[in-house]
Symmetry: C2
Subunit: 328 residues, 2 copies
């Protein structure tokens, strides 16, 4: 079998699914393709062409926004949407693709059936990516003849802004497919991380949900309110971890002795906290109060504002990392 | 009893302890005092004057650094150190102070004995603050006649840069002392958060250590390496949570239905992750491998570089919050 290839000169991306994640990936690819004519979108909804035309512009800066914040943000301007091909059938959508990326429903039978069909119609070298946040590639590929090109490429929402991609292969995914996928994202200035085992929830969500669980516990116990807890994170570990992740931070905190010094100094406090962590479950009854506090504090969040500020931070971090690793 | 007062016109701060936290607070106060002549430092080490003179400048930008990054950072320039008074005895250090802030050893008997002495010599209206990360005010005040002015003011290291202060009163702390402490920090553009109960590790460390525990688990299980885990956090929840804390982020993630919508959509995945979280303990044997990986990845971390980038992020976030809440 020929090896999978994702060289930019021949990249033809087909996106399946036009939910929030699918459209956000479309926005990303549109601004990072060498030739925009190579983006194809497929969805079973009957009005897909009109839907994409009306929704996709929301992922780009309007002329007004650019005027207000021209030196602050790197929100890309509206690209030429005529470059997108809307496919009318799955076979025609995938027949000449080099990359097929699905962001469809989180439903195992949908995904197994999709990949079996894709496999029959797509070139044998195409890379197959799933945006799933929870269904491992090893389950999705159960009806495929050759599962070696399928892997999870899990974004951190929204993918047109956030740099992280978790690459989670199944035990059947070939090293070449993993490598080609890594290179694709690295060439575009993104941060693909190879997750070595198909763990429940992968890595980013597990870490975030571990903190969220303790956050729920502390609010439930009346130690702080929802908005106070958010402000604590926003003014401490949020900015800290944007610069240096938890291990690096505590390694620095230990001085010349590093992480070992850190645990030597306050390992006792860490262990006391670990033993005292709360273990609420979904459905325990904490929901009503926490949901209400969040509604009262935030109403409906202005996601555009959040994304604009996030872009400014990411721009600073990217400048600091230097010019390396960017798209050619 | 007269109420505690922290009005800027009369603020006279005495710092006890010249470790990393004490000096970092000194650097903060020096750049935020209306009149720098009101900062007094006390430590039992015999060479305290020379020590402060040699170490404190490290918390400020050298002329070189300012030249290289003049428009990027807001690292304050060297202030006039002659404004600091070095006290030679505890009674003389505290006798006219309006705020007494201790950053001494994390040792209960040291702190109980210190506050009993301070109480005998300080004005009866002085606010009494401890930087402890683990010893509650209710324990520290056990030998005091009147514990109503003592509370924990726990910084996120280093306090001359990070905005968060956790204010953790004991049940005996007066509402007036809490209020005056809140106002002191708010006037200086910082983010004081009132923690309602004396919980083990307070709030920020509990949240961070909850995530750290799962991080240790995932590395121990071979799912990712130390450096990969850090990169995941740096490119996802770090920048996200710098802009919007976990509740606000997931409230936004649920669309118009908010946090309730979020748990409606993926509460099942959250619960699966919660049930699958690891529970390593300090001393379990994971340390050697994790410490070695951290050493190999990072060597000795350049904290100056980390702080410089952190300042840039915080500057963006402060701009976005608008001009409100800043020091007069």
């Amino acid at each position: 079998m020929p090896s999978p290839s994702a060289k930019d000169s021949t990249t033809k991306i087909t996106l399946i699914g036009t939910g929030t994640i699918g459209l956000s990936f479309a926005a990303f690819h549109l601004t990072h393709l060498a030739s925009p004519s190579q983006l194809t979108i497929y969805d079973t909804r009957p009005d897909v062409a009109e839907y994409v035309q009306s929704q996709l512009p929301k992922f780009f800066a309007s002329p007004d926004q650019n005027q207000n914040h021209d030196q602050d943000t790197n929100t890309p301007p509206l690209p030429n949407f005529s470059a997108i091909t809307i496919a009318t059938s799955l076979p025609s959508a995938v027949q000449s693709a080099t990359i097929i990326q699905e962001s469809g429903p989180e439903n195992l039978s949908f995904k197994t059936s999709l990949w079996a069909q894709v496999e029959r119609h797509a070139p044998s070298t195409a890379l197959l990516w799933s945006s799933t946040s929870g269904i491992p590639a090893s389950q999705q590929s159960s009806s495929m003849a050759s599962p070696s090109r399928l892997l999870v490429v899990h974004p951190y929402n929204p993918p047109h802004i956030m740099p992280l991609l978790e690459l989670v292969p199944s035990p059947d995914t070939s090293p070449e497919a993993i490598q080609a996928t890594m290179e694709f994202w690295e060439r575009r200035g993104r941060v693909p991380i190879h997750i070595k085992k198909e763990t429940t929830g992968f890595v980013a969500n597990r870490l975030a949900f571990a903190l969220l669980r303790e956050a729920v516990h502390l609010v439930q116990q009346g130690v702080v309110g929802v908005q106070e807890l958010d402000r604590i994170v926003q003014t401490s570990m949020g900015p800290r971890w944007a610069v240096a992740g938890p291990f690096k931070s505590y390694h620095a905190g230990g001085g010349p002795a590093g992480l070992e010094g850190f645990f030597g100094n306050i390992g006792g406090t860490v262990q006391k906290c670990w033993e005292d962590l709360g273990t609420p479950s979904v459905g325990d009854g904490w929901e009503e109060g926490v949901f209400r506090e969040a509604r009262e504090a935030y109403g409906v969040v202005d996601v555009g504002e959040r994304d604009r500020i996030t872009r400014r931070l990411l721009q600073v971090l990217e400048e600091e990392r230097g010019a390396g690793g960017k798209e050619e």
